[in-house]
Amino acid sequence: MRKFILRYLIPRIIQYLALIFIGVTVTYIIPRLAPTDPVEAQVSMMIARGSSLDPESIEAMSTALTELYGLSGSPVEQYFTFWGRLFRGDLGPSLGNFPTPVSKMIGQALPYTLRLLIPAVIISFILGNFFGAMSSYYPENKAFNVIEVLGQAVRSIPYYVVAIVLLVVFSYFIPIFPFSGAYPIGTHPNWHSLAFIRTYIEHAVLPAATLVLVGFGGWFVGMKSLTSNIISEDYVVYAETAGLRKNRILTQYIIRTAMLPQLTALAMSLGTVFSGALIMEVVFGYPGIGSLAIRAVYSNDYSMIMGITIYSIIGVATAVFFMDLLYPFFDPRVRYQ
């Protein structure tokens, strides 16, 4: 147990902290590299747009901004204040929806993103790995080859383009799925009504399909190349000569072994998938973090963009960390080190 903590747990914790440290430091440095004074630019932009705010609010906003960019005090002081505010979960007010706190708006949007992202990641992981293993175990089967070609083809294409193709085909030319949003405009979310849940799922099909399709090919290819090495291993050949059932060999001997590197790959891919989910939401007008981000870009809501960036880094880092913690349950070698 002590060895497990020293060899496995502590390096993971260090990696987790390093990830957050580097991510947050990068977000801290970026605004300071910008050529213009961000506060001044921000405030003058608001005034130029004929903002209806009274001078006092503008003053408050300017103070909030200076504090938000952490521009008071020496750089070292600024850096520490920045961390201090992060620990308190205080990311300042949104400039587009002044003075609603950024954290609150992110909190409202996040469930929509997660309810799409988590099932989509799990589905594409399971399907991709399953078909990948099947295709290398039954190489003569033509259907798997066709799936492989299609999966590989979609895999390389950016999320945005896949999303827009799905949208054009399935809600423009063949209008079987709704055009945008998470539920029809005007309805109020009501989780006790079956009809509402149905439309909610209908609205989620294309966005989720985008994530599943792009993810599928990657898992398929990864699993196929992993298993193609495993099927010639001695223990698999032995199991086959011993007359074990094919299904048992496939699930217990081949997939189980190949699963471990795939789980590591899953943790590594979370950041990319999350980024993909953001841009997919923009295409489908899905009211999650991605839509929040694009609205922030359009309304020059700097604090919102900053908040989304920091929350994304911490969120993805934490998800990866939890996957690392779960890993020993799948890999007995780590458990009994």
């Binding site: 083809a153 950041g271 980024s275 870009v297």
Partner: protein
């Protein structure tokens, strides 16, 4: 080199398809030098015309011929991809070779940084960055930024190659005959990792073009430069789908798909060729 090409053409269907798709892209790029229209000008042709013989991909609501406009878009997007790839290759080769050869704490620190960059959700960071640099954003700056963020995964790949090279006897011979570490990495190890560097270059080009599309669609790049991303941005801006100008969205999407498929197939084909085990399987050995 010629023999490799011949082998690939003969035994790998994906390679042949990649050559055909990329051939189409190259023709488009060459045609851009002979374009009858200036991509910076609008309302040079009647607007909102569907695809026809005269206007191959139709015309936009801004009165531009979509086909000719896209020839410039492909050229610029590919330029961005190549510049990004070159910058990030330099970083990943340096980091990978150093981490692999030096080992110890240098290796651990470098790999921790590179793992962080693999896992970080890059899109929000890039949104923040390009939001702040919006005024000074042009194609070259975007390429440099993407290059600074796109090296991490390949650095790890190169490192793992060097780790095994380090144990080979020729490295030991070089060390015992008094060759310096830098000389060994550059002259003895670099040639071995070059094929991988080449394969990952293609993958990195794909990644950066995809990122450009994503950022442009959000309106965060230089929107006056024609690229595959800005094509989609302007189409969205004019509500192309709602207005029934579907070809404005479809054409850039299709060109993107062709470019991506071509590069991706080339990447997998070359990647498998580099690995002798899969190469043998390919030619039925």
């Amino acid at each position: 080199m010629l023999k490799v090409l011949r082998d690939l053409l003969r035994y790998d269907g994906r390679f042949r398809l990649a050559i055909i798709l990329l051939g189409g892209v190259v023709v488009m790029i060459l045609l851009s030098y002979d374009s009858p229209y200036d991509p910076g000008k609008s309302f040079v042709v009647p607007w909102d015309l569907p695809p026809s013989r005269e206007h191959l991909f139709g015309t936009t609501s801004r009165g531009q011929d979509l086909f000719w406009w896209l020839t410039f878009a492909v050229r610029n997007s590919l330029f961005l991809g190549v510049v990004t790839a070159i910058i990030s290759r330099v970083i990943s080769v340096l980091v990978g070779l150093t981490a692999g050869y030096r080992g110890g704490w240098i290796d651990r620190v470098l790999m921790m940084v590179s793992d962080t960059f693999v896992v970080l959700p890059l899109l929000p960071i890039l949104i923040l960055l390009s939001f702040l640099l919006r005024e000074s954003m042009n194609l070259l700056n975007l390429a440099i930024i993407l290059g600074l963020f796109g090296w991490s995964f390949d650095a790890r790949l190169i490192r793992s190659q060097v780790l095994s090279l380090r144990e080979r006897s020729f490295t030991r011979t070089a060390v015992y005959s008094g060759t310096g570490g830098f000389w060994i990495t550059i002259h003895e190890h670099l040639p071995f990792v070059l094929p991988i560097v080449f394969a990952t270059t293609l993958n990195n080009i794909l990644w950066s073009i995809g990122m450009e599309v994503t950022l442009s669609v959000l309106g965060l790049s230089d929107l006056t430069t024609p690229t595959l991303g800005t094509a989609l941005f302007w189409a969205n801006q004019h509500g192309a789908l709602v207005a029934g100008v579907w070809w404005w969205i479809t054409a850039p999407a299709m060109v993107t798909v062709v470019l991506f498929l071509g590069l991706y197939l080339l990447f997998t084909s070359i990647n498998e060729y580099i690995d002798p085990r899969t190469r043998l399987r390919l030619i039925g050995g």
